[in-house]
Symmetry: C2
Subunit: 448 residues, 2 copies
Amino acid sequence: MAQTAKNIAIIGSGLVGSLLAIYLKKRGHAVTIFDRRPDIRTVQFSGRSINLAMSNRGWKALRRVGLEDEIKKIAIPLEKRAMHVNDKPVYFQNYGKEGEAIWSISRGVLNRKMIDLAEEAGAVFRFNEKVWDVDLPETKVYTGETEKSEWKEYQFDLIFGCDGAFSRVRHKMQRRSRFNYSQHFINVGYKELTIPANVDGRHKLDKNSFHIWPRGQFMLIAMPNLDGSFTCTLFMPFEGEVSFENITTEKEAKAFFKSYFPNVRKEIENLTEDFFKNPTSAMVTMKCYPWTYWNKVALVGDSAHAIVPFYGQGMNAGFEDIYALDQLIESNGDDWEAIFEAYQIQRKPNADAIAELSYRNFMEMSSKTADPMFLLQKKIEKRFAERHPEKWVPVYSRVTFSERPYAEALAIGDKQEAIMQEVMRLPNIETIWDSEVVEQKMVQLLSR
Amino acid sequence: MAQTAKNIAIIGSGLVGSLLAIYLKKRGHAVTIFDRRPDIRTVQFSGRSINLAMSNRGWKALRRVGLEDEIKKIAIPLEKRAMHVNDKPVYFQNYGKEGEAIWSISRGVLNRKMIDLAEEAGAVFRFNEKVWDVDLPETKVYTGETEKSEWKEYQFDLIFGCDGAFSRVRHKMQRRSRFNYSQHFINVGYKELTIPANVDGRHKLDKNSFHIWPRGQFMLIAMPNLDGSFTCTLFMPFEGEVSFENITTEKEAKAFFKSYFPNVRKEIENLTEDFFKNPTSAMVTMKCYPWTYWNKVALVGDSAHAIVPFYGQGMNAGFEDIYALDQLIESNGDDWEAIFEAYQIQRKPNADAIAELSYRNFMEMSSKTADPMFLLQKKIEKRFAERHPEKWVPVYSRVTFSERPYAEALAIGDKQEAIMQEVMRLPNIETIWDSEVVEQKMVQLLSR
């Protein structure tokens, strides 16, 4: 349906803010994007980034505005996990079927590109301009130097809060009665580290793998960049025996990397330097509702549903918000009240589902990977999925390589888990796990 | 242990703030209480109060500072529920054993009295002075006319946030990383109504009862005041068939009271007037952690753990916080870091438990009271408790008439519920419910 051009403010020039700007410009609106930070194209990266894994949902949203091919140029496909276990050869594990991959992209590189594209599309960026307050019913935005300084007032028709997990826009909505909200931090922090390229510019580890060094309560991951380097993330408890709190000197850091990550030992100098240069960041699951204020204001992306990064779906979920919003714009035209209402009703269960799945993945990685019964269960599932691909699509594939709702992936995953609980109770499951008996039992349980 | 006198700020002059002031004055500290509202002793009540039910935990905290007898003078003991079901005589139900009662107190009357007592004890009140900001590490308090006006700065040694569910102090703590927080509103609202005294000053309904008109998705309750009136609360969904949203005219309000509450029909004029005069309020469960900031700042009462009112424990839980805090002061002397750390570790599980119990009571009242199997279960439990009082103390009594931790009441209640689930699965339970078989089954299950 045709739309009347609106004067629209987007708060936040991150990935979601800039992609939304491109979508709204395509529909003929005037778009101004505010960001309290300077133009990311003019500054160094922050040193607190986890590389992004773009998967089907993200690509779908880029495709709708014709950007898929352009962004693929700055992405590297990863079709497998590379598991680094000490004293064993690297173990490779395909993510999905032939041709299925997640794509590694540097957050900074992608964000710069997206801002370029939004600017080309005609969006106006106001960097270094912090939004202190939003008048929801009047759709006014107030910016200024400090909370107590003189503020500038801007009037818009619509405001989108794309300002992340600690959103100012949501903060304003949160003060209203009957606004549900939660923020829950996990006790694990993360730190960005780097493995530089070889002198010849090539990657030091396999380029088309997502590298993991699982170590029980902590782990290191590495994702490739175009320049031959890897952006690594160390996930580790804030407090406890092996923890950020307990590594305070260069000597302790070196000893830590030497004993737990010997196969990256050539990089230890570099990792140790990063360790003290880069901040330790916290991870939060944030949920809220409603996401919209009448036909005036809407939250999109992390501002509505920040999740922990263990499923690699944060950006994908935010991009999918935009895709859903645009479909609703398509069918509802100028009725922004209907668009916003349908948007939050459609997206909320899916945001809750991916939050839950991401949190479970964190629990799984941190506590279950050492449990032999859990590993056996995964082996049985894998075997069955390979023999009956039409009967058993693993949750990971449903989330990562499908465009079906996250809520469906969660529900089917729970059903599969219930089946596996019964299978694992079969007598002598350790010995008969790859037998016809187990396979038939699963077929039978599935047909119930 | 002896304590060095500190200069202490309390934010909020409600029940918890004023009782905490009395406690801290007893220990020789200088105490200043800030409140954004005017002195409650000089103004009309707000019309958005639910009468309080003081029970054992509240009395225990008042007793420790010698106030139990004085406050009992302004309270009315309620030893039973009076259930008003249409076309049936009023049905009375004792709360506990002989001599066990909850006590009805008007929030306004109690608050005025507590402020009098805190003032007598030497606390300084600063009414009409809104706290806009708190510097946590520097223990500074900033007050002013508006958020953007000139602020006054006060320096203290310690700050206590007793400023309720929408606490400013907590709001400041919430902006720190790794602060867990949730606010969850239920879809039911409430409205204060009044049944005035008879012309001779006597109560129109039995004075020593907690009156309930249960109506499935909504209900009316009434608690007596000293002046012969009753403070009533109508709990009802915000939206839906019978809801606040759907009663917009006096005619609709009258019809509503007439059809659902015929035995208060003489009061309908008055109830109808209140209905449109008084606001409809929302109810929230608020949880957070940590509750303290180093040895500087602590949250007490609703600011740390706001709960829905369906167990009548909000004030009791807040008073118990103060009691626990004072015990820790007693044993830790000047070590405020130890006091605050032990305080939050001890109280948090209990606050979570009473939040859960209160929410379940809401679910129970709004959806289960019409279920015959649920009512049968309650009958079986009651019979068993009467015959085996040493084996079966109902959760209600554990919460209301005991001083054991809320968390224990919740855990034992869950065990009892698991037993009852098994009992309710016995064949023909509807006919054999009062038989020896059922009784012996429960004894056996309890001894497992």
